[in-house]
């Protein structure tokens, strides 16, 4: 009797997990279906760069996207330094890659109730190691994505949706990533030493890009 009871408990736990996994996967697929509506777009955007070793004013850029994973940020008239490869701000290719979705429960993102779903890639040779999505269940909007890759560590994408959003696309994306230190020999640069004390202490190794979309074109 005790054995039967323990077997029953184990089976029900497994069933629940399977149900939750299916639930998580169906949520992911719903989000994917929502993103599938967008085949391509071109957008005018304002790019704000916050990288510790870069001093850059805000730039007017163009963002080009073509499903499933082609995305480019281009400053046609000037210079903008954008992280290579890891700025995949389109989630469609992430959600379309072979994965297993795990329900990580509920939570809050920017005081908005969300479902947290973890994506484990099933392709062992792929670049992706783990992705955690914070999904607003009513609107199927992804508010935050924490993406860990083999080469570039963990980067965070925060999506902001405005009241006047176009075609379910975000109004603003905040992309946060790891950076390395940058140094040039002073004998190469011949810097002007203005006598100011340099800030001591550890230098931040996180960079941020803030892309504010001004106008989408389809």
């Amino acid at each position: 009797m005790k054995k039967l009871l323990s077997h029953l408990i184990i089976c029900s736990i497994l069933l629940c997990k399977t149900a939750l996994a299916q639930d998580a996967e169906s949520l992911v697929q719903s989000v994917r279906a929502r993103l599938e509506k967008i085949d391509h777009y071109e957008a005018d955007a304002l790019l704000k760069t916050e990288i510790p070793y870069l001093k850059v004013p805000d730039a007017q850029v163009k963002v080009f996207y073509k499903r499933p994973d082609q995305i480019r940020i281009v400053n046609e008239k000037g210079i903008s330094l954008v992280p290579r490869g890891s700025v995949n701000i389109s989630l469609y290719s992430l959600l379309s890659s072979p994965h297993q979705a795990l329900d990580a429960g509920k939570g809050e993102c920017r005081e908005i109730p969300v479902r947290i779903v973890k994506l484990l890639p099933t392709d062992e040779k792929g670049e992706l190691v783990l992705a955690t999505l914070f999904i607003e269940p009513k609107t199927l909007e992804v508010l935050r994505a924490l993406i860990t890759t083999r080469d570039n560590g963990t980067h965070t994408l925060e999506f902001y949706y405005g009241k006047n959003q176009v075609n379910d696309l975000p109004e603003k994306i905040l992309f946060s990533f790891n950076t390395e230190n940058f140094k040039l020999p002073k004998g190469v640069t011949f810097d002007y030493d203005d006598g100011k004390e340099k800030a001591k202490g550890p230098v931040s190794r996180r960079g941020k890009l803030e892309i504010t979309f001004l106008k989408y074109r389809f």
């Binding site: 001093k55 210079i79 330094l81």
Partner: protein, 293 residues
């Protein structure tokens, strides 16, 4: 005073060696421009180092006239003062060597006015040389490479200044460079007063500039507070300060701003003090000197 200045200018520009400086600058600038035209990407890759592995580098946008001009000015840091010393060191010592100095001071013109006219002519030469370099380094670079945002290299990072915000910085930088080079001219002028042969003052000026520049660039804590702030070569680099922008609290650059204008002002005052000091010393010594040649 004006006729004296005209005569001194005629003396300078009548000598063929004066034009060596203009030719040398043209050659150096053209060599750098040709090198960057054909292999500028390699130079940019050297600057950005490992960043190219993690950032998309728009080489074609970076390699523009403003960037090329900045590279030229950076590379010619030592060379231009040497060309200034070539003429300034010859201004009094050259006349002594030719035997015309005694004749010159016997004219009914005070030694002070004479020296001021000579220094004025040297300053005009310096300004013209700098103007020549500005036309070639900036004007020709813009014509060949076009205009775009400028990437500024610093030891601890990179700065980007928008193209609409660059030209006024260059004008200010060249104006400051004129002050910096006039300091070198004043030093060579002072040394010229001591000598009867122009080689001595020229070599002495070059040596002083090289040694002081090395001391200014060395990262030795002992010298950072005790020696560097007093070297004129440390302040000659302040033209670069016009390209360093202030930042917002979030780390983004503020367009149209200068990071430390006060420091540039302080450096320019130091250079003015040096010029005044060198010139005053030259006048004092020349007034009391027995002209025997």
């Amino acid at each position: 005073m004006w006729p004296l200045l005209q005569i001194e200018l005629l003396k300078i520009f009548r000598k063929p060696r004066t034009y060596i400086s203009f030719g040398a600058i043209a050659a150096m600038v053209l060599i750098i421009q040709i090198a960057l035209k054909f292999d500028g990407q390699s130079y940019i890759e050297f600057i950005v180092g490992d960043l190219k592995e993690s950032l998309e580098i728009p080489y074609d946008h970076i390699l523009n006239g403003y960037f090329v001009c900045f590279v030229i000015l950076n590379l010619l840091l030592i060379h231009i003062p040497l060309l200034i010393a070539l003429v300034a060191g010859d201004s009094v010592a050259g006349e002594a060597n030719l035997g015309t100095l005694r004749l010159l001071v016997s004219k009914p013109v005070s030694r002070q006015k004479l020296l001021l006219a000579k220094f004025g002519a040297t300053t005009v030469y310096t300004a013209l040389l700098l103007l020549w370099m500005a036309v070639l380094a900036l004007g020709l670079s813009l014509a060949v490479f076009g205009a775009n945002d400028i990437l500024i290299m610093r030891a601890d990072g990179l700065e980007i200044v928008r193209s609409s915000d660059v030209l006024w910085r260059y004008l200010a930088a060249f104006a400051y460079a004129a002050l910096a080079l006039t300091t070198v001219a004043a030093l060579a002028f002072l040394l010229s007063v001591f000598a009867d042969n122009s080689i001595g003052p020229i070599v002495a000026t070059i040596s002083i500039v090289i040694v002081f520049t090395i001391l200014s660039e060395m990262q030795i804590p002992l010298y950072d507070r005790t020696v560097k702030p007093f070297l004129f070569t440390s302040h000659m680099l302040a033209w670069k300060g016009f390209f360093y922008s202030r930042v917002n609290p979030d780390g983004t650059a503020v367009a149209g701003s200068i990071e430390n204008l006060r420091a540039i002002g302080k450096s320019s005052l130091v250079l003015i003090l040096y010029i005044t000091g060198f010139l005053s010393a030259a006048m004092y010594i020349f007034n009391r000197k027995d002209i025997l040649s």
